[in-house]
Symmetry: C2
Subunit: 302 residues, 2 copies
């Protein structure tokens, strides 16, 4: 099992040869991450956009880095979609384009990247405090605004696919809320109960689902014991399904900001893994996301 970010980087570099299509790269952290991906992870990075920017950053003449010059962002995006559609790229990495514009290009029928599944962003954290090294996932803090029950079951499926690719064959999924009780007036607790039952009935597979669980009960055995919650997931959760984008986003940002933990993330549900690092991510976080994308791309072709 890939239980640490070091193992993730190692595994990605051993995969080699994955082709990362980069949409309109322009900022220093992106170039730095591309450089590291090519040199350390043996990825091939195809930079689609303004070649002068890359030249100025000094990465235009290195092994593993290729160029497809495009004068406008619009052209760069349509060129990226062509490369991916035609199987000349394995992973899409957002450069200096906003996420909405990028996702719109991905979702266009002529891009042929849709699979009929919901697209969602899966955050992956290294969580060294837990005895057994495991990567923890939080979803969806990036794309799906207000998932309904069906949407939530698809968010679980996407995160479970990431867990499987990381070598965790039956991840424990905690459906987060603010309570462990079903509260009729709090829809997230009702949905959590429904998702647990869907898992029991074989409608959600490849994982063990329980909820509602508050964050502490989901992650920490002591909290689970203190509250008297008996559950295969409580205290041992590996995937945290938040009730909505605001909760997932603020939880993830809180963990990064206050806990100093690192975050990788990948958008699942399309025909290729899509990486949408935020402008605020440093090159280290971007490199981890590229490694995650490479491992997902490896899993897709198995």
């Amino acid at each position: 099992m890939i239980g640490t970010f070091d193992a993730l980087l190692h595994h990605a570099s051993a995969l080699g040869g994955k082709r990362v299509v980069v949409a309109a790269p322009r900022n220093a952290e992106t170039f730095e991450a591309i450089n590291l991906a090519a040199s350390q992870l043996h990825a091939t990075c195809i930079l689609v956009g303004d070649q002068d920017a890359a030249r100025n950053a000094g990465i235009d003449d290195r092994p593993g880095i290729e160029f497809v010059p495009c004068s406008t962002t619009e052209r760069a995006l349509s060129t990226c979609m062509e490369l991916l559609r035609d199987g000349r790229g394995d992973i899409l990495l957002k450069g200096s384009v906003d996420t909405g514009t990028l996702m719109k290009a991905v979702l266009q029928p002529e891009s042929m990247l849709r699979t009929g599944r919901l697209l969602s962003d899966v955050f992956v954290f290294e969580y060294p405090a837990r005895a057994q090294n495991k990567l923890i996932m939080i979803t969806d803090g990036g794309i799906t605004l207000a998932p309904d029950l069906k949407g939530k079951s698809e968010l679980i499926a996407n995160a479970v696919e990431v867990a499987h690719a990381l070598g965790n064959p039956n991840p424990k999924v905690a459906v987060l809320s603010a309570s462990e009780f079903v509260i009729p007036a709090l829809q997230s607790t009702v949905d959590a109960a429904a998702l647990s039952k869907m898992n029991e009935r074989g409608q959600i597979t490849g994982c063990t689902v329980d909820g509602p669980l508050a964050l502490d009960v989901a992650l920490f055995p002591d909290a689970a014991k203190e509250k008297g919650i008996r559950s295969a997931v409580a205290g041992a959760a590996e995937i945290l399904l938040a009730p909505g984008i605001e909760a997932a986003n603020s939880l993830a940002k809180g963990i990064v900001s206050f806990g100093g933990l690192r975050l990788a993330h990948v958008v699942m549900g399309a025909r290729v893994p899509i990486l949408i690092p935020s402008r605020a991510d440093g090159s280290d976080a971007k490199l981890l996301s590229i490694a995650l994308g490479m491992v997902m791309a490896g899993a897709f072709t198995r």
Copy 2:
């Protein structure tokens, strides 16, 4: 301004003489916190419930600790309400009673503790990373399930009252979401815009409100700058209004768990401050909440 927990403890101990009515105390952390409140904060703690439990914990014969023996939890609760109604107590502290049962007793008309305002739980964090020491508030991760726009404006009012009592005359309120843009399909961003305007129009006073803001943009000047958000609140938020109980609860628990920060909290909106520490809180966290309650009780009588 009270900008640190040390200052909060100091200020509370200087107030002295506040009477903390404790509903059915039974566990060791509660007794330890009561003991510290009496000895260090010079509070008078009125323990309403099973005197044997207190005797076994060895705190039945100390200055500042009084007893009102009650044989059942139900009796203990009604006695607490009488004490508070009759002005013989200043603060209500939950012992080993569940929060729902306690709040039901508070909300009964005969308790005369209601004010017509919404009751909400205000979390207070010490945030030493920020240059100027300030306590940061998050609300509501404890009581209000799914506030609508009117509810959110009342949550702000309650948190602002706490900020004022801590000596911050015009707190900066960030209305959290997952984005800084108004997204019609994401109600929390629409509500955030409405709350900002209500503040501009003088419908929400005593503070400066801006939103929607994601957590990093709300708290960190670098993130605000990176995203190009011009706002009196971005990068400097002192009150974080989460869109719902799940987001507030998981954000607060994430900060405590991953950031190792300490948390005090107080329920505002009733005639007296109400303290509902969780079972998982240690005596240190409970003592901080008692100090916070004392400062709020001091503010109420000004």
